[in-house]
């Protein structure tokens, strides 16, 4: 993969300035990240060998100033921001791929303006709720306790990498500026996610699922403990053009834990 290029994109007056990273060539793929932000070392890097990947960062993520969050007042404006990006990047009916938090945004966008999305791939999206199988509280766990909800194999490379961050959570006041900045970055990203997902990440997506008409791929980690794979069935039942694929030996963060399998499914779905 070539090194992703980063630039700041101005979405127009009264709208946030967002960082967009781009890599690869091929059909356009607009990627909407989850609560952890954009990472290229998993499936996204592989996808960039086959697609022209656009990966914007919401306010508080990456280089996008967190102040921009004040310009996205509610969920409708969040979805509109997604279409602002499509327009500003000059994309025509892109393949929309969203993971977790971003998967919810992608699904809502496809329900809101089905004609402006080419195909939809959602990876363990939030947005649905069943009392019998409550979605774990992303905002009510310490980072160390959250990890087993995100990964099937805590010894996997991705899990071990993320575990390193937990060492920054301590009583000691001996952090370097870079470590403090890393922690602040996590919290600013979570703040953005919390604005739309706190305290219960469900705001009526299920009612709108029937509006999604584009071909839809639903990927779920077979061992996802954050959002149970049974939620995939709701998509299968209510989205007319949906195909569901469970990925084995995989927790919630599909792109990080099973990058090859994840990219392969998306390529197959896109016919690339």
């Amino acid at each position: 993969m070539t090194e992703p290029k980063s630039r700041m994109l101005d979405l127009g007056s009264g709208r946030p300035k967002l960082e967009v990273q781009e890599a690869g060539s091929g059909p356009n793929l607009l990627f909407l990240h989850g609560a952890g932000g954009v990472a290229w070392d998993g499936a996204l890097g592989i996808l960039a060998r086959h697609f022209h990947v656009y990966a914007p960062a919401l306010p508080g993520f990456g280089k996008s100033p967190s102040e921009g969050l004040e310009l996205i007042d509610d969920q409708l404006e969040l979805w509109q921001t997604g279409f602002d990006l499509i327009e500003a990047l000059g994309l025509d009916k892109p393949l929309l791929v969203g993971e977790s938090f971003g998967g919810w945004i992608a699904a809502e966008m496809a329900a809101l303006r089905p004609k402006e999305v080419g195909k939809l791939a959602v990876l363990a999206p939030v947005g649905l709720w069943r009392d019998a199988s409550p979605v774990a509280d992303l905002f009510g766990l310490t980072l160390g306790e959250l990890l087993p909800y995100l990964f099937y194999d805590m010894k996997s490379k991705a899990a071990v990498n993320m575990s390193a961050l937990t060492s920054l959570m301590s009583d000691k006041d001996d952090r370097t500026q870079a470590q403090i900045d890393a922690l602040i970055a996590i919290f600013l990203g979570f703040r953005t996610a919390a604005k739309f997902l706190f305290p219960v990440p469900e705001t009526g997506l299920e009612r709108r699922l029937r509006r999604i008409r584009v071909p839809t791929l639903v990927l779920w980690g077979a061992q996802d403990r954050l959002i149970a794979p049974s939620y995939a069935e709701i998509f299968a039942k209510q989205v007319k053009n949906a195909q569901v694929q469970l990925i084995e030996r995989c927790g919630h963060l599909i792109m990080a834990e099973q990058p090859e399998a994840c990219a392969k499914e998306i390529q197959r779905f896109a016919g690339v």
Binding site: D171, L183, F187, T192, K195, F198, P199
Partner: protein, 415 residues
């Protein structure tokens, strides 16, 4: 300076192995542990203690607001204050609830505070906490990314409702009301004094200075650890060109007062231990929702934010450590008096909120502590800062104008 007797109202009957069995005293502690009959005893005992504080000469009595919490059994401080309004007549009523963002519409707070002010003859001090993240985010479901904005809007609505004599429309982002028209309205004009409890965020200092409200630093770690924080407060006020009036600030300090220094540890340690090791047993995962604090405050307090905060909360400390480090001021009245004086002078606070009840302390121990404070501490320290005007104190009706509860039905009063 003035003295307020502040009750947290902890539940006294947490099991001995509470810390091993449960991960927090707050948010998700099963209410199976709460025995309502014991609660009946506790509420009445605690209200007795607050009423007794008035008799002992305290200038004000205080209640606060916590939710789903075993160390603070006052989800509604207004209900507590309402009982006190009827059973006391001299002490001011400091209500360091109401967390504005939790009430919909916020005019409910304007109404209830107005009721308290009218019932008590203008003795109300109105508290407007943002609320802890546990209370407002995890227990009340308020969104951490927007609570401060919602708080400011709710505050503006309440203040306007108190001060406007004609109905008005309020078109806010979080509250829309076609007709705001407060009945009753408060006795105190233009409004009851406002105190804002906080834990040291710069935004709260700025808010207090901007509106000329009292800032009440509610720390459980005592005055010695508060020096830097309050220094920051006074520097910030200077930078904002607000005056250096000591009455603009209040500080909460827990005290254990006994006849002699020698007997204090024996009498109080079990109850102090209960407080620091049970009541402050918190789960870091639900201690602060992302967005509750701003980035600036995060950077200022990065350890408390990201670390396990138990180190500074007094958990696992010995009696000696808690005393030496000022978490509690303990000993004879004279010993405690000296430290309260040092507290007032070093923090430059004109209001001290004394926590005379701690943890599982029984009624008699607390009453004795309260009496000793009233007899031997308050009279000796009141002169401090008396040359500064206290703009943050209620302008109550004269005592002669206040109605004595029961007086209108003499037959009932006689029973």
């Amino acid at each position: 300076m003035k003295f307020t007797w502040f009750h947290l109202m902890p539940y006294r009957w947490l099991p001995a192995d509470f810390r091993q069995r449960y991960h927090s005293v707050w948010v998700d502690l099963p209410n199976a542990l709460y025995d309502p009959e014991k609660g009946h005893d506790l509420y009445n005992e605690y209200l007795d203690a607050l009423e007794y504080a008035e008799q002992c000469g305290f200038d004000a009595i205080a209640v606060n607001e916590h939710h789903q919490n075993a160390y603070g059994m006052m989800p509604s401080p207004n209900i507590m204050a309402a009982t006190l309004a009827r059973r006391t007549s001299k002490a001011m009523l400091l209500v360091l609830g109401n967390s504005i963002v939790c009430y919909n519409p916020p005019t409910r707070i304007a109404e209830e505070f107005a009721m308290l002010d009218v019932i008590s003859g203008g003795r109300l001090i109105a508290g407007f906490p943002v609320g802890t993240s546990m209370d407002i985010n995890y227990c009340s479901g308020q969104n951490p990314a927007t609570v401060r904005d919602k708080y400011r809007e709710g505050h503006d609505l309440i203040m306007k409702a108190w001060q406007t004599r004609e109905p008005f429309a309020f078109n806010g982002k979080y509250t829309k009301l076609r007709y705001v028209n407060l009945w009753p309205r408060p006795i105190q004009q233009p409004h009851p004094p406002v105190w804002i409890p906080g834990l040291g965020s710069i935004e709260t200092w700025d808010f207090c200075a901007q509106h000329d409200y009292n800032y009440s630093y509610l720390s459980f770690s005592g005055y010695k650890r508060a020096q830097n924080m309050m220094k920051g407060y006074w520097e910030r006020r200077a930078a904002l060109r607000a005056d250096d009036n000591p009455h603009s600030a209040a500080f909460f300090q827990q005290v254990c007062i006994t006849e002699t220094d020698a007997e204090c540890e024996k009498l109080w340690w079990p109850h102090v231990n209960y407080f620091f090791n049970n009541c402050l047993h918190l789960y870091p995962g639900t201690s602060e929702a992302p967005g509750y604090r701003t980035e600036a405050s995060l950077r200022a307090g990065v350890v408390a934010q990201f670390g396990n905060t138990t180190q500074n909360m007094g958990i696992d400390k010995t009696w000696k450590q808690l005393v030496n480090e000022g978490y509690i001021l303990a000993g004879s009245a004279e010993t405690v008096r000296q430290q309260v004086e040092e507290l007032a002078k070093t923090l430059r606070v004109g209001h001290v909120l004394l926590g005379c009840h701690i943890g599982s302390a029984p009624a008699d121990l607390v009453a004795n502590s309260t009496r000793l404070a009233g007899e031997q501490i308050l009279p000796k320290l009141r002169h401090i800062y008396s040359d500064y005007e206290d703009r943050w104190w209620p302008k109550a009706l004269p005592a002669s104008r206040r109605v004595k509860p029961g007086a209108t039905v003499p037959a009932a009063a006689a029973r």
